[in-house]
């Protein structure tokens, strides 16, 4: 998994690409820290270029949501497509995290 963070005033957009799996715990930990530390009140992960996510990846997204909620930051996922969108549907992730088109 790779990502790039773009902070603009109230919203930080994280463009994520590649595969988000159990192999990305360390990188995801770093990303969550970045999202906690930047000044934007709202953090959005853009998943349009993410090819694959597994249950560990979903677990890490839930950890991001929890940690950001602890510091009163909003969190949303945007643009899931293909396999990622299908897994979110299977996991009914939309009940726990805001999903945007």
């Amino acid at each position: 998994m790779d990502y790039a963070v773009d902070v603009k005033e109230q919203e930080a957009t994280v463009r994520m690409s590649g595969r988000l799996t159990f192999n990305d715990h360390a990188r995801m930990r770093t990303l969550i820290r970045e999202m906690l530390q930047n000044d934007a009140r709202r953090q959005v992960i853009d998943l349009a270029n993410l090819e694959f996510v597994d249950s560990a990846g979903i677990g890490m997204l839930l950890i991001a949501r929890e940690e950001l909620s602890n510091v009163q930051k909003e969190f949303a996922l945007r643009g899931a497509a293909g396999q990622v969108k299908r897994v979110f549907s299977v996991a009914q992730l939309g009940k726990l995290i805001t999903l945007e088109d």
């Binding site: 715990h25 597994d54 249950s55 890490m60 950890i63 929890e66 940690e67 549907s89 299977v90």
Partner: protein
């Protein structure tokens, strides 16, 4: 498939080692004259076999090639996951008898892989296996995605919980993620964990594929009865999933496997999961 139809190709391996392996396992080399025609240097660089080299007549009919992978194998090129390759064996630390045992198992399956934990963790093995399967059997895109995720979850469980004997992160916090990451890194530096093997094998049957994933850990006792019905059935592509399945960070992904496979069961004390998918 008989043993005589099998041949061996070396990826990232020295020519002497490859020749010894082929001799010890009673296998022909593929391409058969790779060594004499100086293909070994290409293999050392991880390049594909040269298709212009004509294999022996007996192999040209239906060659089934085992890719012997060095440790670490580095990037395995995509062409090594396409026919005629149908088995991938990392040869690190294998005794001759162990290699012979694996070669014997290769013949029982459509696809077969045996890798160390350290290597399996770095390779997107499920993705490669499903690509290899797609080269032999047309799969609908949704079906392909479902099989890949279920196999990936089974491999993740085998790696993390089976061979490395590590529990999932506890609780939804960055600290639990940190502990988990350092536990994995520490176990991977210990050869008694990192060298344990992951086996993944596919069998194509009429209208279905059976995929097995096995580890060498302490075993696993499933919460649900293995003989009982799976927790969920895969709905036809394009329909909504009816059950709420939210695999939390502490989950093993088994709910996902239950939702994606048509059935699954554990064998060998939980060290082997056997999943069946309708095609």
């Amino acid at each position: 498939m008989t043993a005589t139809a099998l041949a061996l190709y070396g990826h990232g391996m020295a020519r002497d080692q490859l020749r010894r392996l082929a001799d010890s396992a009673g296998l022909a080399l593929w391409p058969p004259d790779a060594i004499d025609r100086d293909l070994a240097p290409a293999a050392d660089q991880g390049l594909a076999p040269d298709p212009s080299l004509s294999p022996e007549p007996s192999l040209s009919i239906a060659p089934a090639v085992i890719a012997a992978l060095a440790t670490p194998p580095g990037a395995v090129p995509d062409c090594l996951w396409r026919p005629p390759f149908h088995a991938w064996i990392e040869v690190a630390g294998l005794a001759v008898t162990e290699l012979a045992g694996l070669v014997d198992r290769v013949g029982r399956y459509t696809l077969f892989a045996s890798l160390t934990t350290a290597t399996a963790k770095e390779l997107a093995l499920a993705n490669h296996l499903v690509s290899a399967l797609s080269a032999r059997q047309t799969l609908r895109p949704d079906t392909r995605d479902d099989i890949e995720l279920a196999v990936h979850e089974a491999i993740s469980n085998a790696l993390i919980h089976g061979n490395l004997q590590i529990s999932s992160p506890e609780g939804l916090s960055i600290n639990s993620l940190e502990r988990f990451t350092s536990d994995v890194a520490r176990r991977l530096t210990d050869p008694s964990f990192a060298d344990r093997r992951i086996e993944a094998a596919c069998t194509l049957a009429p209208g279905a594929v059976v995929i097995e994933v096995a580890d060498q850990g302490l075993g696993y006792t499933p919460v649900r009865s293995p003989s009982g019905p799976p927790p969920a059935r895969r709905p036809p592509p394009g329909t909504d999933h009816r059950q709420t399945i939210v695999p939390l960070a502490s989950g093993r992904g088994l709910d996902l496997i239950g939702a994606l496979a048509d059935s699954f069961e554990f064998q060998d004390g939980g060290r082997r999961i056997v999943m069946r998918f309708r095609l």
